[in-house]
C-alpha cells in the first residue's frame, strides 16, 4: 500500500506541522522524539483531524485534498487506529470491546476473523474481563485486536510499546510481525525507540520539529550520512530473516540459513525457540552492530560460533560513530573505531570475517508454519509487489 502526504500543512495552537513523504512498505516505522509531531501525522491520516493544506492519498484514493475541498470522514476511511493510551471502553468487557465495530462492517470484506485475532493475540483467557482488570500488555493486545476486527485496510499503531515493560515489548513486536504476516495487513508504527522499530522494519519516516524530514530504508539513511544525531549506534539493529534447519544438541545451537546457503548458528535462550521447530520455519533475527567483531582471517580455536565471510562494502564516518558495511550475502552493519580501521587496514573491497557469538542474535519472531503455507499459496496465486515486499523485508 502506498501512503502519500503531499505538501500537507497543519497548525495546532502555535505549532506548525509539515509533512511531505511517500512510503510503500508493508511495515513503516515513524520515528522522532516526543512532541515531534508523530501523533498529529496519525490524526491527519486517520481523519481524527483535518489539515489546513495539502493532499493525503492511500494508493490511488485521495483521502484529503484541501484545494478541491475533498475530505473523506474518518469513519469512512477504513483505517484501524491503535491509540497510545488504548482507549478501551471501560464499561465493556474485552469481548464486547473487540466486537464494537461489528455493526459497522456489514458492507466490508471480512478477512480478519474473531477466532484468528483472539488466538493470535492470546486474548482467549481474558475475554470476559473488564479493561481495568488487565495489565498494560494485555490492554495493548486488546486494542490491537479491536482495531483489527474493524477489518481495516491499514493499521496505525501509536507507541504500542510505551505502556509495557521491556519483556512485554519483545512480545508485542512478535505479535505485530505475526499479524502483519498472517493477515497481510500493512502497518504504520510510531515509536521514539528506534531499536523497536528496526526489529519490525527497515523502512522509516523521520519526524523532526513537526516536519517529515526523511522517508527511506534505514540502511540508505545511514549510508547517505543523514541524521547521524538521531541514529545512535546502540539503538541501531541489523534485522534479517532466516530459515530454521536443525537443532544441534552437541553444540546446543540452532542451525539456520539465510537464503538457503549462508549457515548461521544461534543459541538465543528465547522462549520462541524450541527443539521441536519444524524445518523451514522462518525466523526474524536482530543483531546489534556493536556485537559484531571483525577479523581479516578465519580464527581457529575460538568459542565464537559464527565467522561469516564477506567483503567490506563501505566505511561510513558520521559524527556519532563509524560503521563498516560488510556484504556477506546480506548486508551487515558493524560498528568499528578508527583504531580498528588502522590496525586491520580496512578498505572497501577487502575480504573480512564477521565474528558473531551464537547468543548475540535476538530472536524477534518465529513465524507460524501455517502462515508459511498460506503465504506460499497466496504467492503462487498473486504476484503483486506488495506481498513480495511483505515476505522479503
Amino acid at each position: 500500500m502506498i501512503i502519500r502526504f503531499e505538501s500537507v500543512e497543519h497548525k495546532l495552537g502555535d505549532n506548525h506541522f509539515k509533512y511531505d513523504f511517500r512510503t510503500d512498505s508493508s511495515i513503516t516505522g515513524v520515528f522522532g522524539h516526543s512532541g515531534a509531531g508523530k501523533t498529529t501525522l496519525f490524526n491527519l491520516l486517520s481523519g481524527v483531524d483535518t489539515p489546513k493544506k495539502g493532499k493525503i492519498k492511500l494508493d490511488t484514493e485521495t483521502l484529503v485534498d484541501i484545494d478541491k475541498n475533498k475530505i473523506i470522514p474518518g469513519k469512512n476511511r477504513n483505517i484501524g487506529y491503535v491509540f497510545q493510551e488504548n482507549h478501551l471502553f471501560p464499561h465493556l468487557s474485552v469481548k464486547k470491546n473487540l466486537l464494537f465495530s461489528k455493526p459497522y462492517i456489514k458492507n466490508k470484506i471480512k478477512y480478519i476473523s474473531f477466532n484468528d485475532v483472539v488466538s493470535l493475540l492470546d486474548i482467549i483467557p481474558i475475554l470476559n474481563k473488564k479493561p481495568r482488570q488487565l495489565s498494560g500488555g494485555e490492554r495493548q493486545r486488546v486494542a490491537i485486536g479491536r482495531a483489527l476486527l474493524s477489518q481495516p485496510r491499514l493499521l496505525l499503531l501509536d507507541e504500542p510499546f510505551s505502556n509495557v515493560d521491556c519483556s512485554k515489548r519483545k512480545k508485542i513486536i512478535s505479535y505485530l510481525l505475526g499479524i502483519n504476516n498472517h493477515f497481510q495487513i500493512p502497518m504504520v508504527i510510531i515509536s521514539h525507540h528506534l531499536e523497536d522499530i528496526l526489529k519490525l522494519t527497515r523502512n522509516i519516516v523521520i519526524i523532526e520539529n513537526g516536519r517529515s524530514t526523511v522517508s527511506d530504508d534505514i540502511f540508505n539513511i545511514i549510508k547517505n550520512g543523514e541524521k547521524p544525531e538521531l541514529i545512535r549506534p546502540k539503538k541501531f539493529q541489523n534485522t534479517f530473516e532466516v530459515t530454521f534447519y536443525d537443532y544441534s544438541k552437541t553444540e546446543s545451537a540452532y542451525n539456520v540459513y539465510f537464503n538457503q546457503n549462508i549457515e548461521i548458528k544461534i543459541s538465543n535462550h528465547s522462549r520462541l525457540l524450541n527443539e521441536t521447530l519444524e524445518q523451514g520455519t522462518r525466523i526474524q533475527l536482530s543483531l546489534r552492530p556493536i556485537d559484531i567483531a571483525l577479523s581479516v582471517e578465519k580464527n581457529e580455536g575460538t568459542s565464537i560460533q559464527n565467522q561469516l565471510n564477506g567483503k567490506v562494502k563501505q566505511i561510513i564516518h558520521n559524527s556519532e560513530a563509524i560503521f563498516c558495511v560488510v556484504d556477506c550475502g546480506f548486508e551487515l552493519f558493524v560498528e568499528i573505531s578508527q583504531g580498528i580501521i588502522n590496525d586491520l587496514y580496512l578498505h572497501e573491497g577487502q575480504e573480512i570475517y564477521c565474528q558473531i557469538k551464537a547468543n548475540d542474535f535476538d530472536v524477534v519472531h518465529v513465524y507460524d508454519k501455517v502462515d508459511l503455507e498460506k503465504e506460499n499459496k497466496s504467492l503462487s496465486h498473486n504476484h503483486s509487489e506488495e506481498i513480495k515486499v511483505a515476505v522479503k523485508s
Binding site: V48, K75, I79, G80, H87, F89, P90, H91, A147
Partner: protein
C-alpha cells in the same frame, strides 16, 4: 395506620414525582448533552434559563408559570382558546411546576457526567466506524449512566418536596393538586391535626433520605465506573 386522606395524598405525591421525573429525564439528557458539548451561540442563555428556577424563589417561578401558561396567560390563553387545553390548577400544572424546578438539578448532574467521559473514547469509537449518534448511544450514554440515574433521583426528590411553584401554579386543591408538602402546610394550621402532620413528615423524610442515599451511592459508582 394511615387514613384514606393521607394515602391519597401520598399516592398523588408519588405519582407526580414519578411522572415529572420521567418527563424531566429525556429533557435533562438532551440539555446536559448539548451543554456539555461544544460551544454554540446562545449557550449561556440556554444555561441561564435552565438554571433560573434553582436560584429564583419557587413562588416566583410559579407566578411566572401562571403568567405564561395560566388560563389568561400569554401562551395559556391561546391554548385554551384554540384547543381547550387548561394547564393551571390541575394535574398537568403539578407536573409542569415539578419539571421546571427539578430540571436544573437533573441537568447539572447529567451534564457533569457527560463532561467526565474522556473525549478520547469518541475518537476511538469513530475510528471503529461509529457515527456521532452511535457514539452517543454506545459510549457516552452508558458511561454517563450512573450520573443520569443520580440526576433522576435528584429530580424525583426535588419534586417530592416541591411547594412554592406548585401552590402558585397548581393550587392547593385536596384530591386534585394537594401533595404531601401542601397537605402538611394546610394541616399545620388546623388544631388536632398534629398526628397526621407528623406521620406525613416522617414519610416525607424517609423518602427523601432514601433518595439521597441512592444518589450518593450512584455518584460513588460513577467515579469507579469511569476509571
Amino acid at each position: 395506620m394511615f387514613s384514606s386522606e393521607e394515602i391519597s395524598v401520598i399516592i398523588l405525591t408519588l405519582k407526580v414525582a414519578l411522572t415529572s421525573t420521567l418527563v424531566t429525564l429525556p429533557l435533562a439528557i438532551w440539555l446536559g448533552w448539548i451543554l456539555a458539548g461544544k460551544n454554540f451561540p446562545g449557550k449561556i442563555l440556554v444555561e441561564g434559563l435552565v438554571n433560573i428556577p434553582l436560584v429564583a424563589p419557587p413562588v416566583v417561578t410559579g407566578y411566572l408559570l401562571l403568567v405564561l401558561l395560566g388560563k389568561n396567560g400569554i401562551i395559556g390563553h391561546w391554548l385554551y382558546e384554540t384547543m381547550g387545553i387548561k394547564l393551571a390548577f390541575n394535574f398537568a400544572a403539578l407536573i409542569i411546576a415539578s419539571v421546571v424546578v427539578s430540571l436544573p438539578l437533573a441537568v447539572r448532574s447529567i451534564k457533569s457526567a457527560f463532561e467526565l467521559v474522556d473525549p478520547n473514547y469518541e475518537k476511538a469509537s469513530g475510528s471503529l466506524g461509529a457515527s456521532k449518534t452511535g457514539t452517543f448511544f454506545r459510549v457516552y450514554l452508558p458511561l454517563a449512566f450512573p450520573g443520569i440515574l443520580s440526576g433522576a433521583v435528584l429530580a424525583f426528590a426535588r419534586s417530592l418536596g416541591e411547594f412554592g411553584a406548585t401552590i402558585s401554579f397548581a393550587g392547593n386543591i385536596f384530591g386534585k393538586t394537594q401533595t404531601i408538602a401542601l397537605n402538611v402546610y394546610s394541616n399545620m394550621q388546623i388544631p388536632g391535626k398534629e398526628m397526621q402532620v407528623t406521620r406525613l413528615v416522617i414519610i416525607s423524610l424517609i423518602i427523601s433520605l432514601l433518595a439521597i442515599i441512592a444518589s450518593e451511592y450512584l455518584n460513588k459508582k460513577k467515579k469507579y465506573f469511569i476509571k
